[in-house]
Symmetry: C2
Subunit: 222 residues, 2 copies
Protein backbone atom coordinates (compact mmCIF):
# COMPACT_ATOMS: atom_id res chain seq x y z
CA UNK A 1 0.00 0.00 0.00
CA UNK A 2 1.39 3.35 -1.10
CA UNK A 3 4.99 2.42 -0.66
CA UNK A 4 6.38 3.91 -3.83
CA UNK A 5 7.53 6.83 -1.74
CA UNK A 6 10.65 6.84 0.28
CA UNK A 7 9.95 7.33 3.93
CA UNK A 8 13.65 7.74 4.57
CA UNK A 9 13.32 11.22 3.14
CA UNK A 10 11.13 12.11 6.06
CA UNK A 11 12.84 13.38 9.20
CA UNK A 12 10.40 11.36 11.26
CA UNK A 13 11.37 8.01 9.81
CA UNK A 14 15.06 8.51 9.37
CA UNK A 15 17.22 5.70 10.67
CA UNK A 16 14.59 3.05 10.19
CA UNK A 17 14.76 0.19 7.69
CA UNK A 18 12.53 -0.30 4.69
CA UNK A 19 10.91 -3.22 6.46
CA UNK A 20 10.13 -1.15 9.50
CA UNK A 21 8.62 1.52 7.31
CA UNK A 22 6.40 -0.98 5.56
CA UNK A 23 5.17 -2.64 8.71
CA UNK A 24 4.59 0.74 10.26
CA UNK A 25 2.37 1.67 7.35
CA UNK A 26 0.50 -1.60 7.45
CA UNK A 27 -0.33 -1.10 11.09
CA UNK A 28 -1.22 2.55 11.14
CA UNK A 29 -2.44 3.91 7.85
CA UNK A 30 -6.18 3.56 7.70
CA UNK A 31 -6.89 6.38 5.29
CA UNK A 32 -5.31 7.97 2.22
CA UNK A 33 -6.34 11.46 1.15
CA UNK A 34 -5.91 13.31 -2.14
CA UNK A 35 -6.10 17.01 -2.77
CA UNK A 36 -5.98 18.95 -6.02
CA UNK A 37 -3.97 22.12 -6.58
CA UNK A 38 -5.48 24.99 -4.67
CA UNK A 39 -7.56 22.87 -2.32
CA UNK A 40 -7.46 23.61 1.38
CA UNK A 41 -6.17 20.64 3.34
CA UNK A 42 -6.58 22.05 6.83
CA UNK A 43 -8.04 25.35 7.88
CA UNK A 44 -6.65 27.58 10.60
CA UNK A 45 -8.52 26.75 13.81
CA UNK A 46 -9.45 23.19 12.87
CA UNK A 47 -9.15 20.66 15.67
CA UNK A 48 -6.48 18.10 14.86
CA UNK A 49 -6.85 14.50 15.86
CA UNK A 50 -4.46 12.95 13.42
CA UNK A 51 -1.04 13.26 12.02
CA UNK A 52 -1.08 13.92 8.27
CA UNK A 53 1.87 12.59 6.38
CA UNK A 54 2.45 14.34 3.07
CA UNK A 55 3.88 11.69 0.74
CA UNK A 56 3.38 13.40 -2.62
CA UNK A 57 3.24 17.03 -3.62
CA UNK A 58 3.94 20.41 -2.07
CA UNK A 59 1.83 22.36 0.36
CA UNK A 60 1.98 25.88 1.57
CA UNK A 61 1.24 26.81 5.16
CA UNK A 62 -0.12 30.28 5.70
CA UNK A 63 -1.70 32.38 8.38
CA UNK A 64 -4.48 34.87 8.04
CA UNK A 65 -4.07 37.58 10.64
CA UNK A 66 -7.06 39.08 12.35
CA UNK A 67 -6.87 42.13 10.15
CA UNK A 68 -7.06 40.02 7.02
CA UNK A 69 -3.46 39.84 5.86
CA UNK A 70 -1.95 36.64 4.60
CA UNK A 71 1.55 35.61 5.57
CA UNK A 72 3.23 32.54 4.30
CA UNK A 73 4.86 30.43 6.95
CA UNK A 74 6.52 27.72 4.93
CA UNK A 75 6.51 25.53 1.88
CA UNK A 76 6.56 21.83 2.72
CA UNK A 77 7.59 19.12 0.27
CA UNK A 78 6.91 15.41 0.47
CA UNK A 79 7.79 13.42 2.51
CA UNK A 80 6.92 15.50 5.54
CA UNK A 81 4.50 15.36 8.45
CA UNK A 82 1.89 17.99 9.06
CA UNK A 83 0.99 18.97 12.57
CA UNK A 84 3.40 16.81 14.57
CA UNK A 85 4.08 19.70 16.89
CA UNK A 86 0.44 20.25 17.62
CA UNK A 87 -1.13 16.92 18.37
CA UNK A 88 0.24 17.05 21.90
CA UNK A 89 -0.75 20.62 22.66
CA UNK A 90 -3.27 21.38 25.38
CA UNK A 91 -5.33 23.38 22.92
CA UNK A 92 -4.85 21.46 19.72
CA UNK A 93 -6.24 23.86 17.18
CA UNK A 94 -4.26 24.04 14.02
CA UNK A 95 -2.63 27.47 13.79
CA UNK A 96 -2.26 27.73 10.01
CA UNK A 97 -4.05 27.10 6.77
CA UNK A 98 -2.57 24.34 4.65
CA UNK A 99 -3.11 24.69 0.90
CA UNK A 100 -2.09 22.21 -1.79
CA UNK A 101 0.24 23.82 -4.32
CA UNK A 102 0.01 20.80 -6.63
CA UNK A 103 -1.82 17.48 -6.49
CA UNK A 104 -1.05 16.05 -3.07
CA UNK A 105 -1.41 12.75 -1.26
CA UNK A 106 -1.60 12.34 2.48
CA UNK A 107 -1.58 9.37 4.78
CA UNK A 108 -3.65 9.82 7.88
CA UNK A 109 -2.30 8.35 11.10
CA UNK A 110 -4.33 8.65 14.25
CA UNK A 111 -2.92 10.45 17.23
CA UNK A 112 -3.25 7.44 19.49
CA UNK A 113 -1.62 5.07 16.99
CA UNK A 114 1.23 7.48 16.69
CA UNK A 115 1.69 7.67 20.44
CA UNK A 116 1.76 3.93 20.71
CA UNK A 117 4.40 3.64 18.01
CA UNK A 118 6.55 6.27 19.61
CA UNK A 119 6.41 4.68 23.04
CA UNK A 120 7.81 1.48 21.60
CA UNK A 121 10.42 2.94 19.31
CA UNK A 122 13.25 5.06 20.57
CA UNK A 123 14.36 6.20 17.14
CA UNK A 124 10.89 7.40 16.29
CA UNK A 125 10.67 9.24 19.58
CA UNK A 126 14.01 10.85 19.04
CA UNK A 127 13.12 11.94 15.54
CA UNK A 128 9.87 13.35 16.79
CA UNK A 129 11.54 15.38 19.52
CA UNK A 130 14.12 16.74 17.14
CA UNK A 131 11.47 17.69 14.62
CA UNK A 132 9.50 19.50 17.28
CA UNK A 133 12.52 21.36 18.51
CA UNK A 134 13.47 22.33 15.00
CA UNK A 135 9.97 23.63 14.48
CA UNK A 136 10.36 25.84 17.52
CA UNK A 137 13.66 27.15 16.23
CA UNK A 138 12.12 27.75 12.83
CA UNK A 139 9.24 29.71 14.32
CA UNK A 140 11.62 31.78 16.42
CA UNK A 141 13.58 32.69 13.33
CA UNK A 142 10.42 33.49 11.43
CA UNK A 143 9.37 35.73 14.27
CA UNK A 144 12.68 37.48 14.13
CA UNK A 145 12.40 37.95 10.39
CA UNK A 146 8.89 39.35 10.56
CA UNK A 147 9.97 41.71 13.34
CA UNK A 148 12.60 43.36 11.20
CA UNK A 149 11.18 46.75 10.52
CA UNK A 150 12.26 47.81 7.08
CA UNK A 151 11.53 45.76 4.01
CA UNK A 152 14.93 46.65 2.68
CA UNK A 153 16.59 44.97 5.63
CA UNK A 154 14.32 41.94 5.44
CA UNK A 155 15.18 41.57 1.80
CA UNK A 156 18.88 42.15 2.40
CA UNK A 157 19.10 39.46 5.04
CA UNK A 158 17.15 37.08 2.83
CA UNK A 159 19.55 37.70 -0.05
CA UNK A 160 22.62 37.27 2.12
CA UNK A 161 21.31 33.95 3.40
CA UNK A 162 20.56 32.67 -0.08
CA UNK A 163 23.99 33.46 -1.50
CA UNK A 164 27.65 33.31 -0.57
CA UNK A 165 30.61 35.39 -1.71
CA UNK A 166 31.49 32.44 -3.98
CA UNK A 167 28.05 31.72 -5.39
CA UNK A 168 26.46 35.10 -5.79
CA UNK A 169 23.21 34.07 -7.46
CA UNK A 170 20.24 31.82 -6.74
CA UNK A 171 16.87 30.89 -8.15
CA UNK A 172 13.73 31.99 -6.35
CA UNK A 173 11.37 29.21 -5.33
CA UNK A 174 8.49 31.66 -5.15
CA UNK A 175 6.70 34.07 -7.44
CA UNK A 176 6.99 37.75 -6.57
CA UNK A 177 3.47 37.67 -5.22
CA UNK A 178 4.32 34.77 -2.93
CA UNK A 179 7.59 36.37 -1.93
CA UNK A 180 5.70 39.46 -0.84
CA UNK A 181 3.46 37.32 1.36
CA UNK A 182 6.50 35.55 2.73
CA UNK A 183 7.80 38.92 3.91
CA UNK A 184 4.37 40.02 5.00
CA UNK A 185 4.26 43.07 2.72
CA UNK A 186 2.31 44.20 -0.35
CA UNK A 187 3.47 43.08 -3.74
CA UNK A 188 4.01 46.60 -5.14
CA UNK A 189 6.07 47.48 -2.10
CA UNK A 190 8.35 44.53 -2.70
CA UNK A 191 8.68 45.44 -6.38
CA UNK A 192 9.63 48.98 -5.43
CA UNK A 193 12.33 47.86 -3.03
CA UNK A 194 13.75 45.33 -5.48
CA UNK A 195 13.92 48.07 -8.09
CA UNK A 196 15.77 50.34 -5.66
CA UNK A 197 18.41 47.69 -5.06
CA UNK A 198 18.72 47.17 -8.81
CA UNK A 199 18.99 50.88 -9.53
CA UNK A 200 21.78 51.13 -6.99
CA UNK A 201 23.62 48.30 -8.71
CA UNK A 202 23.54 46.10 -5.63
CA UNK A 203 21.62 43.25 -7.24
CA UNK A 204 20.36 42.25 -10.65
CA UNK A 205 17.38 40.07 -11.49
CA UNK A 206 16.29 38.11 -14.49
CA UNK A 207 13.02 36.33 -13.96
CA UNK A 208 13.54 34.15 -10.94
CA UNK A 209 17.31 34.36 -11.06
CA UNK A 210 18.68 36.87 -8.59
CA UNK A 211 22.33 37.92 -8.52
CA UNK A 212 23.96 39.79 -5.67
CA UNK A 213 26.56 42.17 -7.10
CA UNK A 214 27.67 44.02 -3.98
CA UNK A 215 27.25 41.95 -0.84
CA UNK A 216 28.73 44.55 1.44
CA UNK A 217 26.13 47.14 0.50
CA UNK A 218 23.30 44.95 1.73
CA UNK A 219 21.95 45.58 5.25
CA UNK A 220 22.46 48.50 7.57
CA UNK A 221 20.33 51.03 5.83
CA UNK A 222 18.65 51.88 9.07
Amino acid sequence: MMNENNLSDCPLFRGMSKEEHDSFMQRNVKEVLHFEKGEVVVRQGDIINSMYLLIKGVVRTQMITQDGNTIEIDLLEAVFPLAPAFIYASRNKYPVDVVAMEPCTFLKISKSAWLKEMAGNEILLNNFLTLNSNMTVFLSEKLQMISIKSLRNKLSIFLLEKTTPEKNYFILKRSRTQLAEYFGVQRPSLARTIKELEDEGIISTNGRVVTVLERDKLVWHE
Copy 2:
Protein backbone atom coordinates in the same frame (compact mmCIF):
# COMPACT_ATOMS: atom_id res chain seq x y z
CA MET B 1 18.83 21.10 48.82
CA MET B 2 16.72 23.90 47.43
CA ASN B 3 13.41 22.15 47.92
CA GLU B 4 11.48 25.03 49.43
CA ASN B 5 9.94 25.54 46.00
CA ASN B 6 7.03 23.59 44.75
CA LEU B 7 7.90 21.65 41.65
CA SER B 8 4.24 20.79 41.18
CA ASP B 9 3.77 24.33 39.91
CA CYS B 10 5.97 23.47 36.96
CA PRO B 11 4.29 21.97 33.91
CA LEU B 12 7.24 19.62 33.54
CA PHE B 13 6.82 17.97 36.91
CA ARG B 14 3.07 17.89 37.19
CA GLY B 15 1.60 14.59 38.26
CA MET B 16 4.66 13.50 40.19
CA SER B 17 4.87 13.07 43.94
CA LYS B 18 6.91 15.14 46.34
CA GLU B 19 9.20 12.16 46.84
CA GLU B 20 9.79 11.79 43.14
CA HIS B 21 10.59 15.49 42.88
CA ASP B 22 13.11 15.26 45.67
CA SER B 23 14.88 12.21 44.36
CA PHE B 24 14.89 13.74 40.90
CA MET B 25 16.68 16.77 42.27
CA GLN B 26 19.16 14.70 44.24
CA ARG B 27 20.13 12.79 41.14
CA ASN B 28 20.29 15.59 38.61
CA VAL B 29 20.98 18.98 40.09
CA LYS B 30 24.71 19.57 40.14
CA GLU B 31 24.67 23.34 40.00
CA VAL B 32 22.58 26.21 41.35
CA LEU B 33 22.82 29.66 39.76
CA HIS B 34 21.80 33.07 41.01
CA PHE B 35 21.21 36.22 39.02
CA GLU B 36 20.47 39.75 40.14
CA LYS B 37 17.86 42.02 38.60
CA GLY B 38 18.91 43.12 35.15
CA GLU B 39 21.53 40.43 34.66
CA VAL B 40 21.57 38.49 31.44
CA VAL B 41 21.03 34.78 32.04
CA VAL B 42 21.41 33.56 28.49
CA ARG B 43 22.30 35.51 25.40
CA GLN B 44 20.71 35.05 22.00
CA GLY B 45 22.94 32.69 20.04
CA ASP B 46 24.47 30.91 23.02
CA ILE B 47 24.89 27.17 22.65
CA ILE B 48 22.69 25.34 25.14
CA ASN B 49 23.83 22.15 26.76
CA SER B 50 21.62 22.21 29.79
CA MET B 51 18.10 22.71 30.89
CA TYR B 52 17.73 25.69 33.23
CA LEU B 53 14.97 25.40 35.72
CA LEU B 54 13.81 28.74 37.07
CA ILE B 55 12.75 28.11 40.67
CA LYS B 56 12.63 31.66 41.99
CA GLY B 57 11.99 34.98 40.31
CA VAL B 58 10.77 36.26 36.98
CA VAL B 59 12.66 36.47 33.73
CA ARG B 60 11.92 38.18 30.48
CA THR B 61 12.73 36.59 27.16
CA GLN B 62 13.43 39.00 24.34
CA MET B 63 14.78 39.05 20.85
CA ILE B 64 17.02 41.60 19.24
CA THR B 65 16.29 41.74 15.53
CA GLN B 66 19.06 42.26 13.05
CA ASP B 67 18.12 45.89 12.66
CA GLY B 68 18.47 46.47 16.37
CA ASN B 69 14.88 46.44 17.60
CA THR B 70 13.93 44.69 20.79
CA ILE B 71 10.77 42.64 21.02
CA GLU B 72 9.62 40.94 24.14
CA ILE B 73 8.63 37.33 23.72
CA ASP B 74 7.37 36.39 27.11
CA LEU B 75 7.57 36.85 30.85
CA LEU B 76 8.30 33.61 32.69
CA GLU B 77 7.62 33.07 36.37
CA ALA B 78 9.04 30.37 38.62
CA VAL B 79 8.71 27.43 38.51
CA PHE B 80 9.37 27.08 34.79
CA PRO B 81 12.01 25.51 32.56
CA LEU B 82 14.10 27.52 30.17
CA ALA B 83 15.05 26.06 26.84
CA PRO B 84 13.26 22.69 26.95
CA ALA B 85 12.21 23.12 23.36
CA PHE B 86 15.73 23.73 22.18
CA ILE B 87 17.97 21.14 23.73
CA TYR B 88 16.87 18.63 21.12
CA ALA B 89 17.18 20.89 18.09
CA SER B 90 19.72 20.11 15.37
CA ARG B 91 21.15 23.57 15.73
CA ASN B 92 20.83 24.22 19.42
CA LYS B 93 21.52 27.92 19.63
CA TYR B 94 19.31 29.77 22.00
CA PRO B 95 17.03 32.09 20.02
CA VAL B 96 16.34 34.71 22.68
CA ASP B 97 17.97 36.77 25.37
CA VAL B 98 16.89 35.90 28.89
CA VAL B 99 17.07 38.74 31.41
CA ALA B 100 16.35 38.55 35.12
CA MET B 101 13.57 40.95 36.11
CA GLU B 102 14.21 40.35 39.82
CA PRO B 103 16.66 38.20 41.77
CA CYS B 104 16.43 34.74 40.24
CA THR B 105 17.55 31.23 41.06
CA PHE B 106 18.11 28.48 38.53
CA LEU B 107 18.84 24.80 38.79
CA LYS B 108 21.00 23.47 36.03
CA ILE B 109 20.23 20.02 34.71
CA SER B 110 22.39 18.52 32.03
CA LYS B 111 20.90 17.58 28.70
CA SER B 112 21.96 13.96 29.01
CA ALA B 113 20.64 13.59 32.55
CA TRP B 114 17.35 14.98 31.38
CA LEU B 115 17.16 12.54 28.51
CA LYS B 116 17.83 9.64 30.81
CA GLU B 117 15.11 10.71 33.19
CA MET B 118 12.61 11.13 30.42
CA ALA B 119 13.30 7.74 28.92
CA GLY B 120 12.45 6.10 32.21
CA ASN B 121 9.44 8.18 33.16
CA GLU B 122 6.35 8.33 31.02
CA ILE B 123 4.79 11.22 32.91
CA LEU B 124 7.90 13.31 32.49
CA LEU B 125 8.00 12.49 28.80
CA ASN B 126 4.38 13.39 28.37
CA ASN B 127 4.78 16.67 30.20
CA PHE B 128 7.78 17.48 28.09
CA LEU B 129 5.96 16.80 24.84
CA THR B 130 2.99 18.86 25.90
CA LEU B 131 5.20 21.74 26.95
CA ASN B 132 6.98 21.68 23.62
CA SER B 133 3.75 21.62 21.70
CA ASN B 134 2.37 24.46 23.72
CA MET B 135 5.51 26.42 22.99
CA THR B 136 4.93 25.93 19.30
CA VAL B 137 1.34 27.08 19.63
CA PHE B 138 2.48 30.07 21.64
CA LEU B 139 5.03 31.07 19.04
CA SER B 140 2.46 30.70 16.29
CA GLU B 141 0.14 33.03 18.12
CA LYS B 142 2.93 35.47 18.76
CA LEU B 143 3.74 35.41 15.08
CA GLN B 144 0.16 36.13 14.26
CA MET B 145 0.07 39.02 16.71
CA ILE B 146 3.26 40.58 15.38
CA SER B 147 1.96 40.21 11.83
CA ILE B 148 -1.07 42.34 12.49
CA LYS B 149 -0.35 45.51 10.63
CA SER B 150 -1.85 48.37 12.55
CA LEU B 151 -0.98 49.09 16.13
CA ARG B 152 -4.59 49.99 16.76
CA ASN B 153 -5.68 46.48 15.82
CA LYS B 154 -2.89 44.88 17.84
CA LEU B 155 -3.93 46.89 20.83
CA SER B 156 -7.62 46.19 20.28
CA ILE B 157 -7.12 42.46 20.16
CA PHE B 158 -4.93 42.63 23.24
CA LEU B 159 -7.62 44.54 25.13
CA LEU B 160 -10.38 42.17 24.03
CA GLU B 161 -8.36 39.20 25.23
CA LYS B 162 -7.64 40.78 28.60
CA THR B 163 -11.27 41.63 29.38
CA THR B 164 -14.76 40.19 29.03
CA PRO B 165 -18.14 41.89 28.69
CA GLU B 166 -18.61 41.13 32.41
CA LYS B 167 -15.22 42.22 33.71
CA ASN B 168 -14.32 45.22 31.61
CA TYR B 169 -11.07 46.24 33.29
CA PHE B 170 -7.69 44.71 34.06
CA ILE B 171 -4.31 45.65 35.48
CA LEU B 172 -1.32 45.83 33.18
CA LYS B 173 1.60 43.61 34.12
CA ARG B 174 3.97 45.78 32.14
CA SER B 175 5.08 49.38 32.05
CA ARG B 176 4.16 51.38 28.94
CA THR B 177 7.72 51.08 27.77
CA GLN B 178 7.64 47.30 28.10
CA LEU B 179 4.21 47.14 26.53
CA ALA B 180 5.54 48.97 23.51
CA GLU B 181 8.29 46.37 23.16
CA TYR B 182 5.77 43.61 23.56
CA PHE B 183 3.95 44.99 20.53
CA GLY B 184 7.19 45.70 18.73
CA VAL B 185 6.53 49.44 18.36
CA GLN B 186 8.01 52.67 19.71
CA ARG B 187 6.81 53.95 23.01
CA PRO B 188 5.51 57.32 21.76
CA SER B 189 3.56 55.48 19.06
CA LEU B 190 1.84 53.35 21.66
CA ALA B 191 1.07 56.39 23.79
CA ARG B 192 -0.47 58.11 20.78
CA THR B 193 -2.71 55.19 19.96
CA ILE B 194 -3.82 54.76 23.57
CA LYS B 195 -4.69 58.43 23.65
CA GLU B 196 -6.75 58.07 20.49
CA LEU B 197 -8.78 55.26 22.01
CA GLU B 198 -9.28 57.35 25.14
CA ASP B 199 -10.29 60.44 23.19
CA GLU B 200 -12.86 58.38 21.35
CA GLY B 201 -14.27 57.18 24.65
CA ILE B 202 -13.54 53.55 23.88
CA ILE B 203 -11.25 52.95 26.83
CA SER B 204 -10.08 54.77 29.92
CA THR B 205 -6.83 54.35 31.79
CA ASN B 206 -5.64 55.18 35.25
CA GLY B 207 -2.05 54.18 35.83
CA ARG B 208 -1.90 50.49 35.09
CA VAL B 209 -5.64 50.00 35.32
CA VAL B 210 -7.25 49.85 31.91
CA THR B 211 -11.03 49.85 31.42
CA VAL B 212 -12.77 48.97 28.18
CA LEU B 213 -15.87 51.13 27.82
CA GLU B 214 -17.07 50.15 24.37
CA ARG B 215 -16.02 46.64 23.41
CA ASP B 216 -17.81 46.69 20.08
CA LYS B 217 -15.82 49.67 18.86
CA LEU B 218 -12.54 47.81 19.21
CA VAL B 219 -11.09 46.15 16.09
CA TRP B 220 -11.96 46.60 12.48
CA HIS B 221 -10.47 49.97 11.87
CA GLU B 222 -8.72 48.72 8.79
